[in-house]
Symmetry: C2
Subunit: 232 residues, 2 copies
DNA sequence: CGCTATGTTGATCCATATCAATAAGTGTGG
DNA sequence: CCACACTTATTGATATGGATCAACATAGCG
């Protein structure tokens, strides 16, 4: 794996505090690959041979059952996915596909488990990361069970606005059809939910969103830190 | 904390392989309390001061938003809850209440974090446990996004039958109203879903379930190991 | 430039929630 | 131990959120 990729990976919380020797050992077995868009990287049920790190591009984690399919989450640089499967040495519970041209680092799962046993700071980082992921899924689950689809959309827009630095205008980072799937609704329904939010100060032009009055949107969205704040 | 409780806690995967000294250190600050039914042990948003261990009875983890409430999961002996909040030292994302008279051990979160840094086997156990929990929530999330309510019920019944040793007859371990909430539906809807499963060989008498022909139920439930097998 | 995938809108259908009434338990205190 | 109160479960009627189907517009893309 080219040395030039090291700093990016090293900068992740997961790898930041481990010793140089252990990091080097991890990188020894790792390699980086470039993938075109829409390539299925892993499939639900496959053995978890590699921990994946998205260096550029983006990856969709999705799942299918009985002819239906749903997006579970999106991984953007720089971040890892399928950490839990790697730790447990179990099969993947989700499939993954590139959304665009992407560079992905692959680190052999057995190396991750081996270094975990050697390097305490790495172990600490993994458990912190895993706890964060766990809490994110809990939040997504609460979102889905407690809110209607337009409430989910309204809160999603508020989160994205925060992410964009609080500006009144920002762009959706997804195709709407995949946003719909992430939010647990159909594309048609998403269109209508957007239309319903016009009345609360949301303007939509393609993927460009304008929120004229955040307070007004918040009054109907009722965001909660325990669902919507992904930093805690 | 009474010595008599030690063996039960010690037997958990989480505490099984740590050194005696570290286990003793954890137990030093811990205490056990008896709670009557329907006591709220923790509330969403509270700081996570203690890791909880259910020694007897059972505990409902639930969450509320905007006047709605939903059961997220049930903790039965012997198991811990709110491990992720303890690890991250963050606020609870769920509330917890006793469902029946319960004995709960409370272990100060800071002790858990401290011993994590000292005892590698404990660290390994925590990360394994957390990865398992993570994967359970992913499964629950897939269940909710990919299945209709009666498909969820059918698969739930198949899982419970497996849990009961595969017998054709077994008892639900929940009030139906809480089972409905866990499955993400209303009690009325659960009644109708049960009625709908009569046609597929499911008999219901109070909380006593009879599955006359598992194969027949499986044909409509289509269980998947990546949603329904909670051991992987 | 034309093809294909995506997005929107309308009409309709279906799953699920809500509301209401009743029945069946369950627990409590006299 | 029974009567009463209260919660839970079931059933029916109805409302509604959301899915599906179909048509069309639009935007990317080769």
């Amino acid at each position: 794996m080219p040395e030039s990729d090291y700093p990016e990976i090293r900068g992740l919380h997961l790898f930041r505090n481990m010793t140089d020797a252990h990091f080097a050992a991890l990188m020894r077995g790792a390699y980086v690959q470039n993938f075109p868009p829409q390539i299925e990287l892993i499939a639900e049920g496959d053995p978890s041979d590699f921990l994946h790190v998205v260096l550029s591009g983006s990856v969709d984690l999705f799942s299918a059952w009985n002819g239906r399919e749903t997006s579970m989450s999106t991984v953007r640089p720089i971040a890892t996915f399928i950490l839990a499967a790697t730790i447990r040495d179990g099969p993947y519970l989700m499939s993954a596909r590139t959304l665009e041209k992407s560079r992905i680092a692959l680190i052999p799962s057995q190396d991750v488990r081996a270094i975990f046993d050697e390097d305490h700071d790495f172990a600490r980082a993994i458990v912190t990361e895993l706890a964060l992921h766990f809490r994110s899924v809990i939040k997504a689950h609460k979102d889905l069970k407690l809110r209607t689809s337009s409430e989910r959309l309204a809160n999603y827009l508020l989160r994205q606005q925060t992410r964009a630095g609080g500006d009144a205008e920002f762009d959706l980072r997804f195709e709407k059809r995949r946003l719909a799937s992430l939010l647990g609704m159909t594309p048609e329904n998403l269109s209508r939910a957007f239309r319903g939010l016009h009345a609360h100060g949301v303007r939509v032009d393609g993927s460009h969103i304008t929120i004229s009055d955040r307070g007004r949107l918040e009054r109907i969205a009722r965001p909660s830190p325990f669902i919507d704040d992904h930093t805690i």
